[in-house]
């Protein structure tokens, strides 16, 4: 059984100002134990998808199941399978950090002694010990976010949904969360991650879907997405010296991105590799190249290229 199955999901929001097709026929499956990434610009439909999966809102049409539970017909059974970190900060501002953690567990059916036991390890892992008796409204947004993420580790639900969960976290804590998520996936928990930090998805996700304007533009493993972007490659060069007019000559090669740092150059190209290499060979006759490397595109480059194409 797949952890998530989405079939031709549509969501239309109607308001006084008009109609918005937030999702326009999205389909995908996520096997159990996988870290699956949903990428897309603002308004792509990622959060709508998260809200449907977590039963906050219903789809206009189509079907979504979580571990076999239909999100519309079996909302309670669905909610028993998952924990969610929503995009916006969610914390009990009037309560202490301790109450936030304990009440979260209680509301998920955990008993007081089990909740306290689990809280101790979460508090240690997320460095919340000194803040336990502090009221959350006194804390910074970053710390509130840390508590929001820490809460989901109070439970062992088989599906974890994180909607841009690491936004606002300091780099060390972010690293710790990503490592922990990887460890949870190894234990068999499924993780659905939406993010705009593409390096995060590249590092963590085994499979990725790129959404734009409510539609799936591409999906697959990073390798499969790279294959979609054939004729797109990144070239790193180091010239023997930074000769005058070098940048102008490189610009004539029409790179989609060009970064020059002294003698080092990073370029992204779309086109025939052989043709480009020939042109670079011409340049190297005048300014020798001492180091040369060609790589596939990064996820960010694939993403930008797909979104640009869609425009």
């Amino acid at each position: 059984m797949n952890a998530i199955e989405i079939d031709d999901l549509h969501k239309i929001y109607r308001s006084k100002t008009g109609t918005v097709h937030a999702l326009g026929g999205v389909s995908f499956q996520v096997p159990q134990g996988m870290i699956y990434g949903l990428l897309g610009p603002n308004g792509a439909g990622k959060s709508t998808l998260v809200r449907i999966l977590s039963t906050i809102t219903s789809p206009t049409s189509g079907r979504a199941t979580v571990l076999g539970c239909d999100v519309v017909r079996q909302p309670l059974a669905t909610r028993r399978q998952l924990v969610v970190v929503l995009q916006h900060t969610a914390s009990e501002n009037l309560l202490t950090v301790r109450d936030n953690l304990l009440i979260y567990a209680y509301l998920h059916g955990v008993g007081p002694s089990a909740a306290r036991q689990r809280m101790n390890s979460v508090v240690e892992e997320f460095e919340l010990g000194a803040l336990l008796r502090t009221t959350v409204q006194e804390l910074s947004d970053g710390t509130k976010r840390r508590i929001q993420v820490a809460k989901i580790f109070m439970l062992d639900s088989p599906l974890m949904i994180l909607d841009e969960a690491t936004t606002g976290m300091d780099p060390l804590m972010k690293r710790r969360v990503l490592d922990r998520l990887r460890a949870e996936a190894r234990k068999g928990r499924t993780i659905l991650l939406t993010t705009q930090v593409l390096s995060e998805a590249e590092e963590l996700c085994e499979s990725i879907m790129i959404l734009n304007k409510g539609r799936a533009m591409a999906s697959g493993t990073l390798q499969e997405l790279r294959a979609l972007s054939t004729q797109m490659f990144r070239v790193s060069l180091t010239f023997a010296d930074s000769a005058a007019g070098l940048v102008d000559r490189l610009q004539t090669l029409s790179p989609s991105d060009l970064q020059v740092n002294g003698r080092s150059v990073e370029m992204v190209f779309q086109g025939e590799e052989a043709s480009l290499l020939g042109k670079l060979a011409d340049i190297s006759r005048d300014v020798p190249i001492v180091q040369f490397e060609v790589r596939g595109p990064t996820l960010e480059e694939i993403f930008l290229s797909l979104v640009e194409k869609a425009k």
Binding site: V84, A90, E92, N93, L107, G111
Partner: protein, 253 residues
């Protein structure tokens, strides 16, 4: 932990962070009782006739004060939805493995206790400080009426608190409802002698049903056949409001 108990505990922890607010809940009805009770009793100078029984104005007012307690507690509890929306926890709560009914019932659970305590305080002041005679044998019925009607009003205001995005719209709407429901009922005066349209409107007002039931349980006044109908009507009203509040929670965009 059981879902309703967990929501109950959450509200309890939130409420006790503001002891002043709790105190306000309890003192406002007492202030009404003392000021209105004494003031109007002196002004009217005599007794009112309710369902052929003669009772003093303070006694007449006491059930209205209890209705006011339930109404205020319900209103402030539903206002808590706005605080939950502000903190973002409202949407997170909807992803928890609890039904929408459990969420609403748990949320009013602790506040029903506040209502009961507030009502007992008002009764104690009325009886021991103002000489009102009440039916102690019917106190359990009074308690039941306070619990049920607090929940009913909360479900009503919950619909608007869930559906409206603006707190000022909610405040305007509930203030208007507060005035209309209170003054278009038997809370402050008997309906005898009032214009026919006023009496008709009052008889359709759930506040009238509530006050009549409380007046019966506290003072033993009222026509039993009418009271049964009013009890049934308030129960149906509460059930419809609960269903609509659940529907509103299910339709959060």
């Amino acid at each position: 932990m059981n879902a309703i108990t967990a929501v109950f505990y959450r509200d309890y922890r939130q409420r006790i962070t503001n002891a002043g607010f709790l105190l306000w809940y309890l003192l406002v009805p007492l202030a009404y009782l003392l000021l209105f009770g004494l003031g109007f009793a002196l002004l009217l100078g005599g007794e009112l006739t309710v369902a052929v029984q003669h009772i003093g104005y303070t006694a007449f007012l006491l059930p209205g004060i209890l209705a006011m307690v339930t109404f205020t507690v319900a209103l402030n509890t539903s206002w808590g939805f706005f605080m939950d929306k502000d903190s973002g926890i409202f949407y997170e709560l909807l992803t928890f493995p609890i039904t929408r009914q459990q969420l609403l019932i748990g949320k009013i659970g602790f506040n029903v206790l506040v209502s009961v305590i507030g009502s007992l305080l008002a009764i104690a002041v009325a009886v021991f400080a103002m000489g009102v005679e009440i039916r102690f044998d019917l106190l359990p019925v009074t308690a039941l009426a306070v619990v049920g009607t607090t929940a009913g009003w909360f479900f009503l205001f919950g619909i608007f608190a869930i559906r409206l995005n603006r707190m000022d719209s909610f405040n305007t709407l509930t203030s208007a409802a507060y005035i209309l429901l209170m003054f278009l009922s038997t809370m402050f005066y008997p309906l005898d002698g009032l214009p026919a349209w006023f009496r008709a409107a009052s008889l359709l007002n759930p506040m009238t049903w509530q006050v009549d039931l409380l007046r019966f349980s506290l003072l033993g006044t009222g026509d039993p056949s009418v009271l049964v109908m009013e009890a049934v009507a308030f129960t149906i009203f509460s059930a419809i409001c609960l269903a609509l509040a659940v529907h509103a929670l299910n339709r959060v965009a």
